[in-house]
Protein backbone atom coordinates (compact mmCIF):
# COMPACT_ATOMS: atom_id res chain seq x y z
CA UNK A 1 0.00 0.00 0.00
CA UNK A 2 1.48 3.33 -1.06
CA UNK A 3 2.01 5.96 1.61
CA UNK A 4 4.09 8.72 0.01
CA UNK A 5 4.36 9.63 -3.66
CA UNK A 6 6.99 12.12 -4.72
CA UNK A 7 6.70 13.34 -8.32
CA UNK A 8 9.34 15.29 -10.20
CA UNK A 9 10.27 17.34 -7.16
CA UNK A 10 12.85 20.14 -7.28
CA UNK A 11 14.28 21.51 -4.08
CA UNK A 12 16.09 24.65 -3.13
CA UNK A 13 16.36 27.54 -0.72
CA UNK A 14 16.89 31.26 -1.08
CA UNK A 15 16.78 31.09 -4.86
CA UNK A 16 19.32 28.29 -5.28
CA UNK A 17 18.12 24.98 -6.61
CA UNK A 18 19.93 22.09 -4.96
CA UNK A 19 18.19 19.08 -6.48
CA UNK A 20 15.84 18.44 -9.39
CA UNK A 21 13.77 15.62 -10.81
CA UNK A 22 13.34 13.55 -7.68
CA UNK A 23 10.82 10.73 -8.11
CA UNK A 24 10.07 8.02 -5.61
CA UNK A 25 7.32 6.32 -3.70
CA UNK A 26 7.18 4.72 -0.31
CA UNK A 27 5.00 1.72 0.45
CA UNK A 28 3.86 0.54 3.83
CA UNK A 29 6.51 -1.45 5.68
CA UNK A 30 9.39 -0.41 3.44
CA UNK A 31 12.76 0.81 4.63
CA UNK A 32 13.98 3.65 2.42
CA UNK A 33 17.45 5.10 2.78
CA UNK A 34 18.21 8.48 1.23
CA UNK A 35 21.89 8.77 0.36
CA UNK A 36 24.03 11.28 -1.51
CA UNK A 37 26.95 13.65 -1.13
CA UNK A 38 26.90 16.53 1.34
CA UNK A 39 24.90 19.43 -0.03
CA UNK A 40 22.97 17.25 -2.47
CA UNK A 41 19.68 18.22 -0.85
CA UNK A 42 18.93 15.22 1.39
CA UNK A 43 17.91 17.27 4.41
CA UNK A 44 15.97 19.73 2.24
CA UNK A 45 14.04 16.79 0.79
CA UNK A 46 13.25 15.57 4.28
CA UNK A 47 12.01 19.01 5.27
CA UNK A 48 9.80 19.06 2.20
CA UNK A 49 8.30 15.67 3.10
CA UNK A 50 7.66 16.94 6.63
CA UNK A 51 6.08 20.12 5.34
CA UNK A 52 8.69 22.34 6.99
CA UNK A 53 9.61 23.73 3.59
CA UNK A 54 7.86 23.81 0.21
CA UNK A 55 9.43 22.17 -2.83
CA UNK A 56 10.35 24.57 -5.65
CA UNK A 57 8.55 22.36 -8.13
CA UNK A 58 6.72 19.03 -8.31
CA UNK A 59 4.56 17.54 -5.59
CA UNK A 60 4.81 15.32 -2.55
CA UNK A 61 1.61 13.48 -1.73
CA UNK A 62 0.47 11.41 1.22
CA UNK A 63 -1.97 8.72 0.13
CA UNK A 64 -4.13 5.94 1.57
CA UNK A 65 -5.06 7.78 4.71
CA UNK A 66 -1.59 8.85 5.76
CA UNK A 67 -1.50 12.40 7.10
CA UNK A 68 1.26 14.63 8.37
CA UNK A 69 0.17 13.78 11.91
CA UNK A 70 1.02 10.10 11.31
CA UNK A 71 4.68 10.88 10.81
CA UNK A 72 7.19 10.43 13.59
CA UNK A 73 10.30 12.53 13.12
CA UNK A 74 13.77 12.07 14.56
CA UNK A 75 15.61 15.31 13.77
CA UNK A 76 19.31 15.93 14.06
CA UNK A 77 20.26 17.17 17.50
CA UNK A 78 20.51 20.92 17.95
CA UNK A 79 22.83 22.94 20.20
CA UNK A 80 19.80 24.01 22.23
CA UNK A 81 19.10 20.42 23.26
CA UNK A 82 22.56 19.56 24.49
CA UNK A 83 22.17 21.22 27.90
CA UNK A 84 18.39 21.30 28.04
CA UNK A 85 16.92 20.70 31.50
CA UNK A 86 14.14 18.24 30.77
CA UNK A 87 13.44 14.76 32.07
CA UNK A 88 13.23 11.80 29.71
CA UNK A 89 9.53 11.50 30.57
CA UNK A 90 8.82 15.12 29.62
CA UNK A 91 10.54 14.77 26.26
CA UNK A 92 8.89 11.49 25.30
CA UNK A 93 5.46 12.81 26.32
CA UNK A 94 5.97 15.81 24.07
CA UNK A 95 5.68 13.38 21.16
CA UNK A 96 1.96 13.15 21.96
CA UNK A 97 1.48 16.83 21.18
CA UNK A 98 -0.19 16.17 17.85
CA UNK A 99 -2.98 14.43 19.75
CA UNK A 100 -3.61 17.30 22.19
CA UNK A 101 -6.12 19.15 20.04
CA UNK A 102 -7.50 21.91 22.25
CA UNK A 103 -6.61 20.22 25.51
CA UNK A 104 -3.85 21.95 27.48
CA UNK A 105 -2.48 18.83 29.20
CA UNK A 106 -1.66 15.23 28.33
CA UNK A 107 -4.26 12.60 29.15
CA UNK A 108 -3.72 9.31 30.96
CA UNK A 109 -3.60 7.43 27.67
CA UNK A 110 -0.95 9.85 26.33
CA UNK A 111 1.14 9.22 29.42
CA UNK A 112 0.65 5.47 29.16
CA UNK A 113 1.73 5.56 25.53
CA UNK A 114 4.87 7.50 26.50
CA UNK A 115 5.65 4.97 29.24
CA UNK A 116 5.16 2.10 26.79
CA UNK A 117 7.55 3.60 24.25
CA UNK A 118 10.13 4.36 26.93
CA UNK A 119 9.93 0.70 27.92
CA UNK A 120 10.20 -0.38 24.29
CA UNK A 121 13.39 1.62 23.76
CA UNK A 122 14.91 0.00 26.85
CA UNK A 123 15.37 3.25 28.75
CA UNK A 124 12.80 2.70 31.52
CA UNK A 125 15.50 3.10 34.17
CA UNK A 126 16.29 6.57 32.82
CA UNK A 127 12.71 7.91 32.92
CA UNK A 128 13.33 10.52 35.60
CA UNK A 129 16.87 11.36 34.53
CA UNK A 130 17.73 14.63 32.85
CA UNK A 131 18.25 14.53 29.09
CA UNK A 132 21.50 16.52 29.29
CA UNK A 133 23.12 13.84 31.50
CA UNK A 134 22.56 11.02 29.01
CA UNK A 135 25.02 9.61 26.50
CA UNK A 136 24.55 10.26 22.78
CA UNK A 137 23.06 6.80 22.20
CA UNK A 138 20.65 7.15 25.11
CA UNK A 139 19.57 10.57 23.86
CA UNK A 140 18.77 9.10 20.43
CA UNK A 141 16.66 6.40 22.09
CA UNK A 142 14.74 9.10 23.95
CA UNK A 143 14.08 10.99 20.71
CA UNK A 144 13.11 7.74 19.00
CA UNK A 145 10.61 7.01 21.79
CA UNK A 146 9.23 10.52 21.31
CA UNK A 147 8.87 9.94 17.56
CA UNK A 148 7.02 6.67 18.28
CA UNK A 149 4.55 8.59 20.46
CA UNK A 150 3.72 10.67 17.42
CA UNK A 151 3.13 7.68 15.14
CA UNK A 152 2.84 3.97 14.68
CA UNK A 153 2.96 4.20 10.90
CA UNK A 154 5.94 6.04 9.50
CA UNK A 155 9.23 7.22 10.97
CA UNK A 156 11.48 9.78 9.33
CA UNK A 157 15.04 9.82 10.63
CA UNK A 158 17.70 12.40 9.84
CA UNK A 159 21.18 10.88 10.26
CA UNK A 160 20.26 9.06 13.45
CA UNK A 161 23.74 7.65 14.08
CA UNK A 162 25.92 10.69 13.44
CA UNK A 163 28.43 11.13 16.24
CA UNK A 164 27.75 7.76 17.86
CA UNK A 165 30.40 5.09 18.44
CA UNK A 166 30.25 1.85 16.40
CA UNK A 167 28.70 -0.28 19.13
CA UNK A 168 25.90 2.18 19.87
CA UNK A 169 25.42 2.72 16.13
CA UNK A 170 24.89 -1.01 15.61
CA UNK A 171 22.41 -1.14 18.49
CA UNK A 172 20.45 1.78 17.09
CA UNK A 173 20.31 0.21 13.61
CA UNK A 174 19.04 -2.98 15.22
CA UNK A 175 16.25 -1.09 17.02
CA UNK A 176 15.25 0.68 13.81
CA UNK A 177 15.23 -2.63 11.94
CA UNK A 178 13.02 -4.17 14.63
CA UNK A 179 10.57 -1.29 14.39
CA UNK A 180 10.51 -1.81 10.63
CA UNK A 181 9.78 -5.50 11.09
CA UNK A 182 6.81 -4.55 13.29
CA UNK A 183 5.38 -2.82 10.24
CA UNK A 184 6.50 0.77 10.70
CA UNK A 185 7.69 2.36 7.47
CA UNK A 186 11.18 3.86 7.76
CA UNK A 187 12.55 6.78 5.75
CA UNK A 188 16.12 7.56 6.77
CA UNK A 189 18.85 9.89 5.63
CA UNK A 190 22.22 8.28 6.04
CA UNK A 191 25.87 9.02 5.43
CA UNK A 192 26.59 5.44 6.23
CA UNK A 193 26.25 3.75 2.82
CA UNK A 194 27.33 0.35 4.14
CA UNK A 195 24.52 0.30 6.70
CA UNK A 196 22.12 1.67 4.11
CA UNK A 197 22.71 -1.25 1.72
CA UNK A 198 22.66 -3.69 4.62
CA UNK A 199 19.35 -2.66 6.24
CA UNK A 200 17.30 -0.76 3.66
CA UNK A 201 14.83 -2.29 1.24
CA UNK A 202 14.98 0.71 -1.11
CA UNK A 203 17.58 3.37 -1.86
CA UNK A 204 17.07 6.92 -3.09
CA UNK A 205 20.31 8.46 -4.29
CA UNK A 206 20.10 12.25 -4.59
CA UNK A 207 22.76 13.92 -6.71
CA UNK A 208 23.61 14.83 -10.31
CA UNK A 209 21.88 11.65 -11.40
CA UNK A 210 19.07 10.63 -9.11
CA UNK A 211 18.47 6.96 -8.57
CA UNK A 212 15.50 5.25 -6.97
CA UNK A 213 15.02 1.52 -6.70
CA UNK A 214 15.47 -1.49 -4.52
CA UNK A 215 18.77 -2.04 -2.75
CA UNK A 216 19.67 -4.84 -5.18
CA UNK A 217 19.06 -2.59 -8.19
CA UNK A 218 21.13 0.15 -6.57
CA UNK A 219 24.14 -2.11 -6.05
CA UNK A 220 24.11 -2.90 -9.77
CA UNK A 221 23.46 0.67 -10.95
CA UNK A 222 26.21 3.02 -12.11
CA UNK A 223 25.29 5.59 -9.42
CA UNK A 224 25.48 2.96 -6.73
CA UNK A 225 28.74 1.50 -7.94
CA UNK A 226 30.52 4.82 -8.26
CA UNK A 227 29.18 6.16 -4.95
CA UNK A 228 30.14 3.08 -2.97
CA UNK A 229 33.54 2.72 -4.56
CA UNK A 230 34.13 6.48 -4.19
CA UNK A 231 33.43 6.27 -0.50
CA UNK A 232 35.58 3.23 0.11
CA UNK A 233 38.35 4.86 -1.89
CA UNK A 234 37.95 8.05 0.14
CA UNK A 235 38.19 6.11 3.37
CA UNK A 236 41.29 4.35 2.08
CA UNK A 237 42.96 7.69 1.42
CA UNK A 238 42.24 8.87 4.93
CA UNK A 239 43.94 5.93 6.54
Amino acid sequence: MKQIICENVSLGYEGTTVATGINFEVNEGEYLCIVGENGSGKTTLLKAILGLQNPVDGKIEFVNGLTRKDIGYLPQQTIVQRDFPASVREIVQSGCQGRLGFRPFYSKSDKALAAKNIEKMGIADLTSRSYRELSGGQQQRVLLARALCATGKLLILDEPVSGLDPKVTAELYKIIKELNEEGITIVMISHDIEAAVEYASHILHVGHNNFFGTKEEYLLSSEGKSFISGITKGEGENE
Partner: protein, 277 residues
Protein backbone atom coordinates in the same frame (compact mmCIF):
# COMPACT_ATOMS: atom_id res chain seq x y z
CA UNK B 1 15.59 42.79 65.70
CA UNK B 2 12.19 43.67 67.14
CA UNK B 3 12.66 47.22 65.92
CA UNK B 4 13.17 45.78 62.42
CA UNK B 5 9.78 44.11 62.50
CA UNK B 6 8.18 47.19 64.04
CA UNK B 7 9.53 49.28 61.21
CA UNK B 8 8.44 46.65 58.71
CA UNK B 9 4.88 46.56 60.00
CA UNK B 10 4.85 50.34 60.01
CA UNK B 11 5.86 50.42 56.35
CA UNK B 12 3.36 47.73 55.47
CA UNK B 13 0.56 49.89 56.81
CA UNK B 14 1.15 52.27 53.91
CA UNK B 15 -0.88 51.20 50.91
CA UNK B 16 1.77 52.42 48.44
CA UNK B 17 4.29 49.98 49.92
CA UNK B 18 1.82 47.11 49.60
CA UNK B 19 1.00 48.16 46.04
CA UNK B 20 4.67 48.27 45.12
CA UNK B 21 5.21 44.80 46.56
CA UNK B 22 2.25 43.31 44.68
CA UNK B 23 3.34 44.80 41.37
CA UNK B 24 6.99 43.87 41.96
CA UNK B 25 6.13 40.25 42.73
CA UNK B 26 3.81 39.86 39.74
CA UNK B 27 6.20 41.38 37.23
CA UNK B 28 9.16 39.35 38.49
CA UNK B 29 7.09 36.16 38.38
CA UNK B 30 5.91 36.73 34.79
CA UNK B 31 9.40 37.69 33.63
CA UNK B 32 10.91 34.56 35.17
CA UNK B 33 8.37 32.18 33.61
CA UNK B 34 9.12 33.45 30.12
CA UNK B 35 12.80 33.63 31.04
CA UNK B 36 13.16 29.85 31.08
CA UNK B 37 12.08 29.64 27.45
CA UNK B 38 14.14 32.62 26.34
CA UNK B 39 17.34 31.41 28.01
CA UNK B 40 16.93 27.93 26.54
CA UNK B 41 16.18 29.31 23.09
CA UNK B 42 19.45 31.26 23.31
CA UNK B 43 17.55 34.54 23.35
CA UNK B 44 18.67 35.84 26.75
CA UNK B 45 19.70 39.11 25.26
CA UNK B 46 16.33 39.86 23.73
CA UNK B 47 15.07 41.30 27.01
CA UNK B 48 17.96 43.71 27.01
CA UNK B 49 17.43 44.71 23.39
CA UNK B 50 13.70 45.23 23.83
CA UNK B 51 14.10 47.28 26.96
CA UNK B 52 16.38 49.66 25.10
CA UNK B 53 13.83 49.85 22.32
CA UNK B 54 11.23 50.69 24.96
CA UNK B 55 13.58 53.39 26.26
CA UNK B 56 13.85 54.88 22.77
CA UNK B 57 10.06 54.78 22.38
CA UNK B 58 9.68 56.43 25.78
CA UNK B 59 11.96 59.24 24.60
CA UNK B 60 9.84 59.74 21.50
CA UNK B 61 6.70 59.86 23.64
CA UNK B 62 8.30 62.42 25.92
CA UNK B 63 9.42 64.61 23.01
CA UNK B 64 6.02 64.45 21.32
CA UNK B 65 4.54 65.29 24.69
CA UNK B 66 2.12 62.41 24.94
CA UNK B 67 0.30 62.09 28.21
CA UNK B 68 -0.11 58.34 27.96
CA UNK B 69 3.27 57.14 26.76
CA UNK B 70 2.15 53.48 26.76
CA UNK B 71 0.31 54.17 23.50
CA UNK B 72 3.67 54.46 21.74
CA UNK B 73 5.92 52.33 23.91
CA UNK B 74 3.84 49.14 23.91
CA UNK B 75 3.19 48.83 20.14
CA UNK B 76 6.78 49.74 19.22
CA UNK B 77 8.20 47.20 21.64
CA UNK B 78 5.82 44.47 20.50
CA UNK B 79 6.73 45.09 16.85
CA UNK B 80 10.44 44.87 17.63
CA UNK B 81 9.92 41.70 19.66
CA UNK B 82 8.14 40.06 16.73
CA UNK B 83 10.86 41.17 14.35
CA UNK B 84 13.69 39.94 16.59
CA UNK B 85 12.15 36.50 17.22
CA UNK B 86 11.50 36.15 13.50
CA UNK B 87 15.04 37.11 12.57
CA UNK B 88 16.58 34.61 14.97
CA UNK B 89 15.82 32.04 12.28
CA UNK B 90 17.11 34.30 9.52
CA UNK B 91 20.47 33.55 8.03
CA UNK B 92 21.23 37.00 6.67
CA UNK B 93 21.49 38.83 9.96
CA UNK B 94 22.14 36.50 12.87
CA UNK B 95 19.69 36.77 15.75
CA UNK B 96 22.24 38.00 18.25
CA UNK B 97 23.58 40.64 15.88
CA UNK B 98 20.04 41.89 15.21
CA UNK B 99 19.38 42.19 18.94
CA UNK B 100 22.63 44.07 19.47
CA UNK B 101 21.82 46.45 16.59
CA UNK B 102 18.38 47.27 17.96
CA UNK B 103 19.66 47.54 21.47
CA UNK B 104 22.42 50.11 21.01
CA UNK B 105 20.64 51.88 18.15
CA UNK B 106 17.50 52.52 20.18
CA UNK B 107 19.51 53.53 23.23
CA UNK B 108 21.50 56.09 21.24
CA UNK B 109 18.43 57.54 19.51
CA UNK B 110 16.52 57.72 22.76
CA UNK B 111 19.24 59.65 24.52
CA UNK B 112 19.80 61.87 21.48
CA UNK B 113 16.10 62.78 21.29
CA UNK B 114 15.88 63.45 25.00
CA UNK B 115 18.97 65.61 24.82
CA UNK B 116 17.96 67.72 21.83
CA UNK B 117 14.27 68.21 22.60
CA UNK B 118 14.32 68.06 26.36
CA UNK B 119 12.00 70.47 28.12
CA UNK B 120 12.99 69.29 31.57
CA UNK B 121 15.63 71.06 33.64
CA UNK B 122 16.90 67.81 35.09
CA UNK B 123 17.84 65.84 31.98
CA UNK B 124 20.39 63.48 33.48
CA UNK B 125 17.97 62.74 36.30
CA UNK B 126 15.25 61.84 33.78
CA UNK B 127 17.57 59.62 31.77
CA UNK B 128 18.93 57.96 34.88
CA UNK B 129 15.49 57.13 36.23
CA UNK B 130 14.37 55.68 32.87
CA UNK B 131 17.49 53.55 32.68
CA UNK B 132 17.75 52.37 36.27
CA UNK B 133 14.15 52.57 37.42
CA UNK B 134 12.87 55.23 39.69
CA UNK B 135 10.82 55.62 42.79
CA UNK B 136 7.77 55.62 40.53
CA UNK B 137 7.13 52.07 41.73
CA UNK B 138 6.24 53.70 45.06
CA UNK B 139 3.82 56.13 43.49
CA UNK B 140 1.60 53.63 41.70
CA UNK B 141 -2.03 54.54 41.36
CA UNK B 142 -4.66 51.89 42.00
CA UNK B 143 -5.35 51.85 38.24
CA UNK B 144 -1.70 50.90 37.67
CA UNK B 145 -2.01 48.08 40.16
CA UNK B 146 -5.23 46.77 38.62
CA UNK B 147 -3.77 46.94 35.12
CA UNK B 148 -0.70 45.05 36.27
CA UNK B 149 -2.84 42.44 38.05
CA UNK B 150 -4.87 41.93 34.88
CA UNK B 151 -1.86 41.65 32.58
CA UNK B 152 -0.08 39.25 34.91
CA UNK B 153 -3.17 37.08 35.21
CA UNK B 154 -3.40 36.89 31.42
CA UNK B 155 0.29 36.03 31.09
CA UNK B 156 0.08 33.30 33.72
CA UNK B 157 -3.09 31.74 32.31
CA UNK B 158 -1.57 31.71 28.81
CA UNK B 159 1.61 30.18 30.19
CA UNK B 160 -0.18 27.37 32.02
CA UNK B 161 -2.55 26.68 29.15
CA UNK B 162 0.21 26.53 26.55
CA UNK B 163 2.82 25.01 28.89
CA UNK B 164 3.22 21.74 26.97
CA UNK B 165 3.32 23.50 23.63
CA UNK B 166 5.84 26.05 24.87
CA UNK B 167 7.99 23.15 26.05
CA UNK B 168 7.87 21.56 22.61
CA UNK B 169 8.60 24.78 20.73
CA UNK B 170 11.52 25.43 23.07
CA UNK B 171 13.03 21.95 23.01
CA UNK B 172 12.63 21.15 19.34
CA UNK B 173 10.92 23.59 17.03
CA UNK B 174 11.30 21.37 13.94
CA UNK B 175 9.71 18.40 15.66
CA UNK B 176 6.86 20.55 16.97
CA UNK B 177 6.26 21.85 13.46
CA UNK B 178 6.43 18.36 11.98
CA UNK B 179 3.72 17.04 14.33
CA UNK B 180 1.50 19.87 13.22
CA UNK B 181 2.01 22.71 15.73
CA UNK B 182 1.74 26.22 14.48
CA UNK B 183 5.16 27.15 15.83
CA UNK B 184 5.02 30.57 14.20
CA UNK B 185 1.95 31.43 16.28
CA UNK B 186 3.59 30.28 19.51
CA UNK B 187 6.72 32.28 18.77
CA UNK B 188 4.51 35.28 18.09
CA UNK B 189 2.73 34.74 21.39
CA UNK B 190 6.05 34.52 23.24
CA UNK B 191 7.23 37.73 21.53
CA UNK B 192 4.11 39.70 22.42
CA UNK B 193 4.08 38.50 26.01
CA UNK B 194 7.75 39.26 26.56
CA UNK B 195 7.27 42.77 25.13
CA UNK B 196 4.35 43.42 27.47
CA UNK B 197 6.33 42.18 30.47
CA UNK B 198 9.28 44.38 29.58
CA UNK B 199 7.18 47.49 29.25
CA UNK B 200 5.57 46.73 32.62
CA UNK B 201 8.92 45.97 34.23
CA UNK B 202 10.45 49.28 33.12
CA UNK B 203 8.65 50.93 36.02
CA UNK B 204 10.18 48.50 38.42
CA UNK B 205 13.84 48.14 37.53
CA UNK B 206 14.34 50.55 34.64
CA UNK B 207 15.33 49.60 31.14
CA UNK B 208 18.95 48.64 31.79
CA UNK B 209 18.26 45.98 34.39
CA UNK B 210 15.20 44.25 32.93
CA UNK B 211 17.04 41.32 31.42
CA UNK B 212 18.25 40.48 34.91
CA UNK B 213 14.65 39.74 35.93
CA UNK B 214 14.23 37.60 32.85
CA UNK B 215 17.42 35.53 32.94
CA UNK B 216 18.71 35.26 36.52
CA UNK B 217 15.91 33.18 38.08
CA UNK B 218 15.93 30.78 35.11
CA UNK B 219 19.71 30.42 35.11
CA UNK B 220 19.80 29.84 38.87
CA UNK B 221 17.07 27.19 38.67
CA UNK B 222 18.88 25.41 35.83
CA UNK B 223 22.00 25.08 37.98
CA UNK B 224 20.17 22.83 40.42
CA UNK B 225 17.05 21.35 38.82
CA UNK B 226 16.91 18.87 35.99
CA UNK B 227 13.41 18.72 34.58
CA UNK B 228 11.62 21.49 32.71
CA UNK B 229 8.76 21.59 35.18
CA UNK B 230 10.98 21.83 38.26
CA UNK B 231 13.13 24.50 36.58
CA UNK B 232 10.04 26.55 35.72
CA UNK B 233 8.51 26.27 39.21
CA UNK B 234 11.82 26.98 40.94
CA UNK B 235 12.48 29.93 38.67
CA UNK B 236 9.13 31.43 39.66
CA UNK B 237 9.82 30.90 43.37
CA UNK B 238 13.28 32.48 43.09
CA UNK B 239 11.86 35.47 41.22
CA UNK B 240 9.15 36.10 43.82
CA UNK B 241 11.54 35.69 46.78
CA UNK B 242 14.16 37.95 45.22
CA UNK B 243 11.54 40.59 44.47
CA UNK B 244 10.20 40.56 48.04
CA UNK B 245 13.63 40.53 49.70
CA UNK B 246 15.03 43.14 47.33
CA UNK B 247 12.10 45.52 47.77
CA UNK B 248 12.10 45.19 51.57
CA UNK B 249 15.83 45.88 51.71
CA UNK B 250 15.43 48.84 49.40
CA UNK B 251 12.58 50.31 51.44
CA UNK B 252 14.42 49.77 54.74
CA UNK B 253 17.85 50.86 53.61
CA UNK B 254 16.78 53.45 51.08
CA UNK B 255 18.69 51.78 48.23
CA UNK B 256 17.45 51.96 44.59
CA UNK B 257 14.63 49.44 44.09
CA UNK B 258 15.65 47.91 40.75
CA UNK B 259 19.34 47.56 41.49
CA UNK B 260 18.61 45.97 44.89
CA UNK B 261 16.28 43.33 43.42
CA UNK B 262 18.86 42.49 40.76
CA UNK B 263 21.61 42.29 43.41
CA UNK B 264 19.50 39.75 45.32
CA UNK B 265 18.98 37.78 42.07
CA UNK B 266 22.75 37.73 41.52
CA UNK B 267 23.32 36.53 45.08
CA UNK B 268 20.78 33.72 44.59
CA UNK B 269 22.54 32.74 41.37
CA UNK B 270 25.87 32.56 43.20
CA UNK B 271 24.37 30.34 45.93
CA UNK B 272 22.67 28.03 43.40
CA UNK B 273 25.88 27.76 41.37
CA UNK B 274 27.73 26.52 44.45
CA UNK B 275 24.89 24.15 45.46
CA UNK B 276 24.55 22.78 41.92
CA UNK B 277 28.18 21.78 41.51
Amino acid sequence: MSSFFERLSEYMSYSFVVNALIVGILISLCASLLGVTLVLKRLSFIGDGLSHVAFGAMAIAAVVGMTNEMLIVLPVTILCAIFLLRSSGNTKIKGDAAVAMFSVGALAFGYLLMNIFSTSSNLSGDVCSTLFGSTSILTLSSTDVIMCLGMSAVVMILFVFFYNRIFNVTFDENFAKAVGSNTGAYNLLIAVVIAVIIVLAMKLVGSLLISALVIFPALSAMKVFKSFKSVTVCSGIIAVSAAVIGMLISIMAGTPVGATIVAVDVAVFAIFSIVGR
